[in-house]
């Protein structure tokens, strides 16, 4: 059977790239989301595992490639178990440190968590890939935890020694670890990116962010110089009134700086996602299949920024709209060229536990894939 896959993928290299299609609708997802929030509240968080599964099923099931939707197959019970375990550990940590002032127990838990971290990250990647299917073929991650321990030990050390400058190299090596140990069915992914490529993308990210920072700062400065005198109405002489005016102007500038900080965070993330993300996907292959990510830093920054504002000012009610909107944009800008979608072969593999995935969820470690 494996030969068939090898033979049929020997097609022409220049296959038309086709974008992912997202068929989700805000109104439809709003219903799912609000019921999730509601049931999660009244079950004191227990339903959150089911909520997560339904949300992921909705998004995966609405992403189509060549008219076939992706599938999310995780079992909510597994997610709940993982969630409870992590929550329990955290509760013991919190109570022993903050309420009982017992740093010994807290320290033991902290060290335990630190030691378990590479294992958890590995398991969470395995879990996530294992539970993703396309055309009834599972994705697989088959790296042993040992590789992750080695990675974090080595690159952690390197990071400290090089004062952080090894970040690009480590990122490149991590993507290699991730992709070279993953496959779609029995077909292996390959990462062909180079560290210098990543460094170049990081420089572009920094440049773009700094440029926008300067623009925003100039904007804030102009606005404050225009608006600050308005606070000083009728106070031409240096007296208590103008002191008050200066104070108000200073407050205004302070608000401007916070605003700039917010803008920078979002622009930085958008630039990183666009530059680094595009490069990484361009460097990935799946036998004859190639990927093309065409995210634009400016568009992404605009979507991220307006999404955050919409969610905040709607007290969260615009969350479904924001999620559908960003997913639609990302899908539209992700193309795959695959000579023959019908000839991939499944792999066999063991089940994974949800502990890792939940650990990641709770502590919010960002593992970009």
């Amino acid at each position: 059977m494996a030969d068939i896959a090898a033979q049929t993928t020997q097609g022409d290299a220049d296959v038309m790239a086709e974008s992912l299609e997202f068929r989700g609708k805000t109104g439809e997802f709003f219903g799912i989301w609000i019921v999730n929030v509601f049931l999660t509240i009244i079950t004191l968080g227990i339903y959150s595992a089911w909520a997560k599964v339904r949300t992921n099923r909705y998004f995966y099931g609405n992403i189509y490639y060549k008219n076939s939707a992706f599938e999310y197959t995780a079992d909510p019970i597994k997610i709940l178990k993982g969630r409870l375990l992590i929550f329990g550990l955290y509760a013991i940590f919190y109570v022993s440190l903050e309420l009982l002032f017992n740093p010994l127990i807290a320290g033991i838990i902290f060290i335990f968590a630190l030691i378990m971290m590479p294992w958890l990250i590995n398991r969470s990647i395995k879990f996530r890939l294992h539970n993703t299917k396309h055309r009834n073929i599972r994705f697989v991650h088959h790296a042993h935890s040992g590789k992750y321990y080695l990675f974090y030990l080595l690159h952690g050390l390197l990071y400290v020694v090089s004062l952080g400058f090894s970040y690009g190299y480590s990122l490149s090596e991590f993507k290699k670890l991730l992709f070279d140990n993953s496959s779609y069915g029995s077909t292996d992914f390959r990462y062909n990116g180079k560290p210098d490529g990543i460094y170049w993308q990081l420089i572009k990210t920094a440049g773009f962010t700094i440029l926008l920072f300067i623009i925003v700062m100039i904007f804030v400065l102009i606005i404050s110089t225009i608006l600050a005198p308005l606070f000083a109405d009728g106070a031409p002489n240096v007296d208590t009134d103008s002191k008050e005016a200066i104070k108000k102007g200073a407050i205004f500038i302070l608000i401007g700086i916070y605003l700039a900080y917010f803008v920078i965070l979002i622009v930085g993330k958008a630039a990183y996602d666009a530059f680094v993300g595009n490069y990484v996907w361009e460097s990935v292959s799946l036998e004859q299949t190639r990927f093309k990510s065409t995210l634009k830093a400016t568009t992404l920054a605009w979507i991220y920024g307006t999404n955050v504002l919409a969610v905040i000012f709607s007290l969260g009610l615009f969350t479904p709209w924001a999620r559908v909107r960003i997913t639609r944009y990302k899908c539209k800008n992700f193309a795959i060229s695959c000579p023959d979608i019908s000839s991939f072969i499944a792999a066999s593999q063991e089940d994974t536990t949800a502990i890792g995935e939940e650990a990641e969820d709770f502590f919010d470690i960002d593992i970009g894939f």
Binding site: V35, R54, Y58, H134, N136
Partner: protein
């Protein structure tokens, strides 16, 4: 009823268009080019509906049929198949969605304004005393180091007030500390550490019954577990925010600050006043002395901001009246 779908055998990614016919509970026919399967509803699994995403009919050995036409499938299996479509029914009905929003907002508001008080009260009364002791001791050490100065009161006067304090029921559970530096003030911590300032003692102008009343009031706060309730409430909000946002770093800081910035509610003040009144009566001290203290406090210059902990003690007529009532 016929439903169309795409059959995947689970071994390769090749799709086979098939036609599914459900005849009754026991006969389900699946037919397509080179495929002819006869099965029963007991041997297959149909996934629940999520929005309009394709449904999966799981057959034996990893084989799956993707069905895009959700309505046709629902109609075909209605009457035969009792799968849980309840979540989808909730999610797709407008009225239920609107009710969800309303209930959600109401429950959040209820929790913020009332429910959290009840939960905090229940927890505070059931917490092991070791926890109270530890929190109180830590908080006292912190406040003592950061804000308080040693008392300059004469030793005789300190002894006199300590003797006064010893008159309380179970006075051994409490430790009285003399300090200065935070204005006219007195406060009590869950550990039983009670602080009284030189300024307050001077302010009483030798009226020991007044000091007795103030101390009784503070012991009332401890007895009714007021500060514990507030600590629990503060950490509950922290935990909730942490749970939903995934950020748990703010949690640790809320605790200490809530002890230090404790401001009691009117409800708590009323309870502490009632306790003080009863204790004073039992010890043969006229409760009017405490009322006198509140009156005296309210007559002080309103611009005086050094009163610190008493900011949250609105010395209003209502409280004075309650103390004077027989």
């Amino acid at each position: 009823m016929k439903v169309f779908g795409e059959y995947f055998d689970g071994k390769s990614s090749l799709a086979h268009p098939v036609e599914i016919t459900i005849i009754d509970d026991y006969v389900v026919m699946i037919a397509g080019e080179g495929i002819s399967i006869k099965t029963t509803l007991d041997d297959i699994y149909i996934s629940s509906r999520v929005g309009n995403t394709p449904r999966l009919i799981k057959l034996q050995e990893d084989a799956v049929i993707h069905v895009s036409d959700n309505d046709a499938l629902d109609e075909a299996i209605s009457g035969f198949w009792h799968i849980s479509t309840s979540a989808h029914k909730l999610e797709s009905r407008r009225s239920i969605v609107i009710i969800s929003i309303a209930i959600m907002l109401i429950s959040v508001l209820y929790f913020i304004f009332d429910g959290s008080d009840k939960v905090a009260k229940m927890l505070a009364y059931n917490l092991p005393s070791v926890v109270e002791k530890k929190i109180g001791t830590k908080a006292f050490e912190y406040i003592d180091e950061e804000m308080l100065e040693p008392s300059k009161l004469k030793k005789e006067r300190q002894k006199e007030i300590s003797a006064l304090f010893a008159k309380f029921d179970g006075a051994k559970e409490y430790t009285l500390h003399f300090r200065r530096g935070i204005g006219i003030n007195a406060f009590a911590l869950p550990s039983g550490d009670i602080v009284i300032t030189d300024e307050l003692i001077e302010f009483s102008e030798g009226n020991n019954d007044m000091i007795f009343g103030v101390l009784a009031h503070e012991i009332g706060h401890v007895k009714r577990k007021h500060s514990m309730q507030m600590i629990i409430k503060a950490s509950m909000v922290g935990i909730l925010v942490g749970y939903f946002t995934g950020d748990v770093s703010t949690l640790a800081t809320t605790l200490m600050s809530s002890v230090v910035q404790a401001k009691y509610s009117r409800e708590f003040e009323r309870e502490a006043d009632a306790f003080a009144k009863e204790t004073m009566k039992k010890s043969g001290v006229d409760p009017k002395n405490l009322a006198l203290f509140f009156e005296k406090m309210s007559k002080k210059e309103p611009t005086h901001t050094e009163t610190g902990y008493f900011d949250s003690h609105p010395a209003n007529q209502e409280r004075i009246d309650a103390l004077l009532a027989p």
